[in-house]
Every structure is written in C-alpha cells, then in structure tokens.
Homo-oligomer: 202 residues x 2
DNA sequence: GTCTATAATGTGATAGAC
DNA sequence: GTCTATCACATTATAGAC
C-alpha cells in the first residue's frame, strides 16, 4: 500500500514535469493524488516550495538509475550510448512527446527566481554527473574524461528534449545521440582505447 | 520613440525568459513596460496567450541573427563554433547566469499544455535551423550535413543553458561547445574538406 | 486610444471539527 | 492524522469614463 505522501509526490512529479512549477496548482496535485486538500500541508508544512523541492529531489534521483540500466550492461561504450539515446527516442514516440526530463522545466523556471529550488535541481544534475562518471569509468575512461562525456550526454539529452517536444519530431534526439558518440570516439582515440568494458575496474 | 506595444513585448520577453510563462503576471509586464494595465488588452485582444505568442515569435526571431554575427564572418567552421560558444559563456558570466535561451523555458512549459504557443516555439526553432543550415552551407557543407550540424549546435546549446543556469558553472557550456566541434570535424572528415569559408557559395 | 475601477475566478495557505 | 470550509490575496479579463 502506497502512502498518501508518496502519492502526492508522484502526482506532483508528473504535473510539474508536464506543466511546470508555476503552472501547476496545489489543488490540481491533491486531486490527482486522490488525497484531501489539507493533507498536503500536513506532509509538507513548508507549502508548495517544500513540495517542489522534495519532488525534484526524489524524481530526479530515480533517473540516475538510467545510467545503470542502459550504460553499465553494454558490451562497449558506443553501444551503451546508442542504446541510451534509442530509449529516449522510444519514450518520446510512445508518450506522444509528453515525457521528457523530470526536472528541466522546473530548473529553467526557478533558476533565477527561487534559490532553494534552484539548489535542488543543481544537486540532481550533479548526482547524475557523478553516476555517469562512475559508469563510464568502468569502460576504461579516466575520471576527468568520464565526467566530460557525462556532461556531453546530459546537455545533449536535455537540449534534444526541448527541441523534440516543441517540434514534435525525434530528429534532434538522433542528432544529439550521434554527437555524444562523436565525443566518445574522440576521447577513446586520445587514449588509444577500444572502449570495451573492464571486468573489474572502477 | 518606441511604441507602447513594443515596450510591452520587450518587457514580456524579459519576464517570460526569466520566470517562465505561467510564472509571469500581466500586471508585472505592464508595470515593467511603464504602460497602463488596459493597454495590454488593447494591443493584445487575445489576452495572455496572444501576448505570449507574439513575444515568442519576435524575441525568438531576433536570435536567428546570432548565426550571422558569430558564424558567417568566421575564417573557418571550427573557429566560428568556438566563437559562438565562447560568446555563450561570456553571456552567462556577465549576467550572473540569468540570461539563457529566450524561449526554452516557455517551450518546455507549454509543449503539452498550449498548442498555439507550442507551435510558436516550434516555428522559432525551425527558423533557427534554417538560418544555421544556410550559414554552414557557406563553409562547403552539403545541406543535409549543414542541417545536422545546426541541430547539434542548438540542442547542445539549449541543454548547456539548462545545466549552467541550474549549477551556476560554465563547465557544461564548454563541454557542449567541444562536442559540437567534434561533430563538425566528423562531417568535414567525411567530405575530405578543410572547412574554409567559400567566397561565393550558398 | 488612454487609463482606472472592478468583476470573476483561481491561488496558496489556514483553522478547526472529527 | 483526516478532511472540509474558508480566508486573504493574486490572477486574467472586462466595462466604461475620459
């Protein structure tokens, strides 16, 4: 049985992701969660700001798993990247371009208007960067290069979501995936590496 | 003497860019524009939605000029890209991370909630793509490759703005610029080209 | 065309019964 | 802890004087 707070967080995550932070009302959230209105202030005494911060942190952290799901099991780096961006294309098509990044909309909205929320989005992006850096290191990349590749992946992915959801085409996501592959090849060439996964490296 | 309508559009562009579409009020806009409240419904009888659409189209189209400013005058393709992303870094630092893309925030907010506004953002992105494709063609790239490079540039730039403004560091923008350079080098290598500007090509 | 007052609705938040 | 009624305020939008 999922608790009321979890249902509110899940409803908030979906609504913020779709309509943004300012564009989503508290009543909208509790209605979707099937919870009475007062509950939200019982679980989130800090009001909308606290709810927004917890939504960003929880839903954001869940997405860090995607590195382990798509990159880590891959036989080599390039295959991992192609699988990752292929999944992004599939998500866009299957959801008719409604599902993108769980926090990018909020991140842009609050970057200069709400410092606690900005910090929450920044912490999530940094967590993703750490997770990706660890995952890419297992393919033999030194930490600095693994971090660079992760930032290239996240920036390309985020930007592609903006264009794809606006233009309603997957073309930008395909280009973004190819761009990250180019970065990976450059980094591997500099090392003279083959990009195969290391059995026990970290 | 700038007209009242132009001042309203300019104020709306800045406020939407900073706080988003839903997060910006009509009163906020007319106050910043120094115009009486009723004026906005005189010039924009369609209300906030019409104002938003005109702001997106006018401010978005202005930014298409950036290709001509930074890319077209460059001696070669790589130099043009480095200048372009260098200017983005400068903008972030000089504005303390408040200035980014004029329409990305709105694009993510309205992608699934307001079809006329989504279409406006899509038209702007397509106009940018056309402008970039034309600009890169002058360096000898065939149209299809020029379009790919433009999409790589815009997606990387947009995603980097998200991360940079959230994390308050220019690191993602530097990585994004290098990634686009990697794409350009791959496209040039495929052609066996030097990337020098063509005196009279288009 | 300019400007003000106000309508109608929605918002985040709170009080208090149960 | 759950739930409802309601507050005070902000919002978009309109009516109408000048």
């Amino acid at each position: 049985m999922t608790g009321t707070k979890d249902r509110i967080l899940a409803a908030g995550a979906e609504l913020f992701r779709h309509g943004g932070y300012a564009g989503t009302g508290m009543k909208q959230i509790v209605e979707k969660a099937g919870a009475p209105f007062g509950s939200v202030y019982h679980f989130f005494p800090g009001g909308k700001e606290q709810l927004g911060e917890e939504v960003v942190r929880t839903s954001g952290m869940e997405y860090a798993r995607l590195f382990e799901v798509f990159i880590t099991p891959a036989p080599d780096l390039i295959t991992g990247l192609e699988t990752f961006f292929g999944a992004a294309v599939t998500t866009l098509l299957e959801t008719d371009y409604v599902e993108g990044c769980p926090i990018a909309t909020v991140a842009l909205e609050v970057a200069t208007t709400n410092e606690p929320l900005r910090k929450a989005t920044a912490d999530v992006f940094e967590a993703w960067t750490k997770a990706g850096t660890k995952g890419f290191s297992a393919f033999g990349l030194p930490e600095e290069h693994a971090r660079t590749l992760t930032l290239a992946l996240v920036t390309s992915l985020e930007g592609a979501f903006v264009l794809c959801r606006s233009m309603r085409t997957t073309e930008p996501m395909a280009v973004a995936g190819a761009a990250v592959v180019d970065v990976a090849r450059r980094l591997l060439t500099e090392l003279g590496d083959d990009g195969k996964r290391r059995p026990a490296d970290g």
